[in-house]
């Protein structure tokens, strides 16, 4: 068997050939696009002069972008950049770094240290570069279609959660009178993606992990939704705006402490975080349903998980901690970020000192205790509503 090893010279030659052909062929694509397609669609195109000034002074680029219909007030910008995907992904990478540093401090380690001058602050970028350069390994017996679809589908579902979650009275993507219900409908789709990923890997560890995930997610979805019914009764609304506005007098975490604790526990379970990380238990199942995923596939799945983490943390802040409400010396968005920081810290903490629960304990906790307590919480909410505590 002969191996062909690529030398650095071969590599450079290959790159030069690719660049040569690209430079030769691109004008045949770009010029027809600029001179035929764009005028036909009626999009105003900036001329070379404007583009050069925009490159020098970013503020001058703003009207150009607005002309193209991609400005900060456009729907595209909202979905792709600010309250939507890019912001959430940045927060998610921030959470990953914060988690590693926080857990390290609690367990008397140092955590990421060398990337970046200050306390390993560039570690997420180093991780990303590492994942991008790793090979995408596909098992020989895997179902290729599903194996490739699952990571993107997972990320798409996590991003869809952001659609109806507002961050401030004027920062939101879409408004709906059912905005409390829609995220949980989307969360209900995650077992489907996990099952697809687990089945497509055709690996027994992945399959066992997928089955565990299914048992766990189905068991914890029900108490999660019942624990929120109390808040709906007290605020008389399924709209997140209405729920936040109803907390002007008193945050719902005080009358609904039981509901908030149930929601917190089920949230950890939905995210497969440490007391409930049976689906990816790395001492028993290699990495559970993530076993066969490598490189950027794994990166996408992790990103999806942390975007979901961020979305659920925002939901907890909005539903129980009064969202953007606070004294007027800070803008509403700043209040939301401050509360979000504490919620995220509180959600990260169990990983530092909790052992993993057993499968039977997990199922018993979900189907017996949490559902029962959620119903008790429902009656507490009814009692509070009848004596007019909030309304």
């Amino acid at each position: 068997m002969k191996f062909w090893v690529e030398t650095f010279e071969d590599f450079l030659k290959r790159i030069i050939v690719i660049v040569f052909w690209l430079l030769l062929l691109l004008p045949f694509v770009i010029f027809p696009f600029i001179f035929i397609v764009v005028p036909a669609l009626g999009i105003p195109l900036p001329n070379a002069n404007q583009i050069l000034t925009a490159l020098l002074d970013p503020l001058k680029a703003l009207p150009l972008v607005n002309d193209l219909g991609l400005g900060p007030s456009s729907l595209f910008f909202k979905i792709a950049a600010f309250p939507g995907f890019t912001f959430a992904a940045l927060v998610a990478t921030g959470i990953i770094l914060y988690e590693r540093k926080l857990l390290a401090k609690i367990q008397v380690r140092v955590g990421p240290l060398y990337a970046g001058r200050f306390e390993g602050i560039l570690q997420p970028i180093a991780d990303l570069v590492k994942l991008l350069f790793k090979e995408l390994l596909v098992p020989a017996k895997a179902d290729k279609t599903f194996f490739f679809i699952a990571p993107s589908l997972s990320l798409a579902l996590a991003t869809a959660l952001l659609a109806v979650i507002p961050l401030a009275p004027d920062i939101f993507i879409a408004r709906s009178e059912l905005s409390l219900l829609i995220p949980f409908a989307i969360i209900g789709l995650t077992p489907l993606v996990i099952l697809i990923a687990a089945w497509a890997s055709s690996n027994k560890f992945a399959f066992i992990g997928g089955l565990r995930a299914l048992h766990q997610l189905i068991a914890y979805e029900i108490p999660m939704m019942i624990s929120l019914v109390g808040v709906v009764i007290l605020s008389g609304s399924l709209d997140l705006f209405g729920i936040v506005e109803a907390q002007r007098g008193l945050w719902f975490i005080f009358p609904q402490l039981l509901g908030a604790s149930i929601f917190y526990v089920t949230m950890l379970s939905e995210l497969e975080r440490i007391p409930f990380d049976l689906p990816e238990a790395d001492t028993e199942l290699v990495a559970g349903w993530l076993t066969e995923y490598s490189g950027m596939h794994f990166g996408l799945l992790q990103l999806a998980n942390y975007i979901k983490f961020y979305a659920l943390a925002v939901l907890f802040t909005l539903i129980f901690l009064g969202g953007w409400l606070g004294p007027a010396f800070l803008p509403p968005f700043a209040w939301l970020l401050i509360k979000l920081f504490f919620v995220i810290t509180f959600m990260l903490l169990p990983r530092a000192f909790m052992p993993r629960v057993r499968m039977d304990q997990l199922i018993r906790l979900g189907w017996v205790w949490l559902i029962m307590l959620a119903f008790v919480n429902l009656f507490i909410a009814l009692l509070e509503a009848s004596i007019g505590m909030i309304l």
Partner: protein
């Protein structure tokens, strides 16, 4: 009178309808059972999209929550646990011809009803869609009795399933 598809909702409806029907056919015809089950989930999602196009957001959310979140997941769960060699296609016989006749006549009947009903013309509804508050109010006032009967039936089904599981478990001992 027939009009060409030129408005956005109509184009969207056409796309959604094609996806829904195509995935429904795939769900029936696919040799690989898991593909069929996933196609069924996509088809349910298409129905939810139709509800969204009809301004019935609450119904769409419920469709996603119940049909995809529970039923499709359950079907895929069962399909994955089953060995695939056991599923051999049935030999075609007289039943096949009968089935073709039955389905064609059913299609003709439903098509005739739809064409006769006056739904072929598109119109823009001026009635605002009912909010979910109204749905909830009617469920507990006007349809209160049927809601309670439905709840009773579901509770009976759960109790029955539990009893059967218990009997099986004791018999196995």
């Amino acid at each position: 009178m027939r009009r060409a598809v030129h408005t956005m909702p109509e184009a969207l409806f056409l796309a959604v309808a094609v996806i829904t029907i195509a995935s429904a056919i795939l769900a029936l015809e696919s040799r690989e059972l898991v593909y069929g089950a996933v196609a069924l989930a996509v088809s349910f999602l298409g129905v939810a999209a139709v509800f969204v196009l009809l301004d019935a957001i609450f119904l769409a959310v419920m469709q996603v929550l119940v049909y995809i979140g529970s039923i499709a997941v359950l079907i895929i769960f069962v399909v994955m646990l089953v060995r695939r060699e056991k599923w051999v296609s049935m030999p075609a016989g007289k039943e096949r011809i009968l089935g073709v006749i039955a389905s064609v006549s059913l299609l003709a009947f439903v098509g005739f009803v739809v064409l006769d009903s006056g739904l072929t013309e598109t119109f823009i509804s001026t009635v605002t869609p009912p909010s979910f508050f109204e749905i909830g109010r009617q469920l507990v006032t006007e349809y209160g009795l049927s809601l309670q009967i439905l709840g009773l039936v579901l509770a009976l089904a759960v109790i029955g399933a539990l009893t059967m599981a218990k009997v099986e478990a004791t018999r196995n001992k």
